[in-house]
Each structure stands twice: as C-alpha cells, then as structure tokens.
Amino acid sequence: MARANVARQVVGSPNFNTLNTRIAVIRFQKAPGEIHAARKITGLEFRVEAQGDVIQQGTSADGVIKMRVRGESSDLLLLFGGQVVARYEVSIALEELDETLLTHGLQQHLRALGYHIGHGGPAKDGVIDVPAEPTPPTPPPPPKPQENALDFERSVLDFQIDQSDDGQAIVPNGDPTGVTTARISREADI
C-alpha cells in the first residue's frame, strides 16, 4: 500500500497535509476514430495497481477511465467477469506527444488513436522518425523511413476515410491550413 508520511497538528494550528494524485484519462473504444456512441464500451470493469497494491477499482459506463497514477507508473487492468483480460503499464510523462507537423509526432498520434502503423522504429511501436537525443552516449542507428512506410500510409488513409476527407494517404505538409494534421492532433488529444 502506498505509504504517506503525514504530520499531526496541535489544535488551532493552521497547518495541514496534502495528498495529490495524478490522473490519466484513457478512452477505450471498439474501433479507432471519432468518439461515437457505437464505439463506446459500456460497463468496462477495471482495476488500477501501483507497487502491487490496488489503488483504484471501478466500472466505466462509457469506456472512459480517469485512471489514478502513482509513482513512476501504475498498471491498468481491464476485467471481464472478474478475470484480468488486459494489463497496461501507464506512466505520466511531463512532455506531451510531439507535434503532428513532425512525422514522428504524427505517427505517435495515429498510434494513440488506435491506427495500425506497423512495428518499426527503435521502440518497435511504428514510430520510426524519432529525433536523436541532444547528447546521445552512442549514436542511434539511422532511421529507416521505408521500414513501415506502407503501414504508415495505410493508417493515414484509414484516418482520412474516417474523417470523410479525400482518401489520398498524403499528409498535407504543404497545406497551409494543415487540416489533416490538425484533426489528428485534436482527436489524439484525449
């Protein structure tokens, strides 16, 4: 169990203790794309564990879980009939997803939205165009843009079809309005 070190107070003291818990809002749905009633998962039973202790449990009515995260990471367990059917390790990073104007940022957003973008890249999550660290101890291998080009192209096409855009599978980098990238960014910003 998470242990909090707290102080007693003398009567009349203005002092107090504080316990603040971080929240990650996670949406589960039946298919990638926009939030839609048909994609909702109702009665989603879940449990959150941190350092081996259950810190939260409940049932989500619409697939949205406001998960409490303690320490470096907490585990989100999805249950069906009381049995664990999926486990996700969730950590809260200070930095957000990168901008969708960058290829790897676009890939991160598509992946978060549930589109299949392959298994390329250093983390094998389909995000291939990862910028190098400012001072890497050893230089990472050069990115391979062709590694999952087809999967990436397909995920963009799927997204455009979902959004009723022209299904060109082309990310309009030169488009001054940046319609497609802006939409992906907004959709992934849950």
Binding site: R3, A4, V11, N15, N17, R22, Q56, G58, R68, E72
Partner: protein
Amino acid sequence: MDKHTVAEGDCILSIANLHGFLWESVWNHPANAELKALRQDPNVLLPGDEVTLPEKGEKEESRGTDARHKFQIRTNLAKFKIRILLDDQPHKDAPYELRLASGDVRKGNLDFEGFLTEEIPADVTEGQLVVGPANDRLTWGLKFGGLDPIDTPSGVEQRLLQLGFDSQKDAKTRIKAFQKKHHLDETGEVDAKTRLTLKEQYGQ
C-alpha cells in the same frame, strides 16, 4: 532533566503524551528554545532531535471534605488535517473513511476544498485513509509523525512525492518540475523561494 531522543513517528504531542506532560509545557520549556527555533513546528521533528523534558512536579488542589468534587485532567488533543487533490483539484465532497491503528474508524465527507479534519489520539502512529465512493476508491497507508522538517532533503522529497511529483526519476528532476509548475527558476536546487512555495503548497 531527562531527554527524549526523537524516533520516527514522534512529535511534541506524542512525546508529551508519552511522558505525561501537556505539549505546551514541553515545547515552550526554555531548554528546548534552540530546537523550537530550528524546527519551528512542534509536530515536524527529525529523528535524532533531542527534546528536554521538564521536571515533573506535584500539583495540589484544596477542596472541602464535605462535598463531592470533580477534577478534570487536561490531555493532549491532536488534530489531523489533510487535503486530498486529484490532478491539483480538490476531491470535494468525496466520502472518506479514516481507520486508525487504535481501532477507531472515522467516517465523513471531504469539504468543498477537499479537506478532512479529525481529532485523533496523540499517540496513534499508523492508519489507513480510503477516499471516494465504493466504485472508485483511493487508498493510502498513513504514517502519523512521519513527515520530516522542510529544511531537510527527506522533508522536501516527502512533500514533492505527496504533491504528485512522483513520476520523475530523481529528486533533482522532481524539484525542477515543481519549479516549472510554480514559475520559479528551474535550477533543481531547493532555494529559499522554492522551499517557501513548497511549504505553502503542501500546507506545512
């Protein structure tokens, strides 16, 4: 005069209670002036601190023998006040259950600012706090008297962790994240301004 060396979980309230004094008699004793100036808060001491105990004296009360008299002994009352936040927002009106190691259970609802205030025995050292409705509960183990002074590295670390800066990998990164959030110079070092802001944010 006897001395009491502070152990984990001790505070002036619990020490006074243990040795049969009122907490004010111990804290305001001239022999503890240096400790008082150093720690400032009677209930946030550091293990290893030395507390001088006053000499015990007898107190006489004269009453007539032809009537029944009632004598009431003053005792040390401790208060426990804590604010529960979810992503920096008060967990307002949430039901809570405070289970003390002594067996007492206190139930109620947090106020609109997320505060819980309960009187507790001065010598209780452990407890459990459960907050939220049955389908969405948060649970903590509590170590009363475990909070270290804010001018110690451990005291800073405890406050940062409990304020939710617990996802960062080390103390320096935690301090930087706290400084960034509160628009302070992001040095990763605990300067006077950072310490003061931390004290205000944590509550002591």
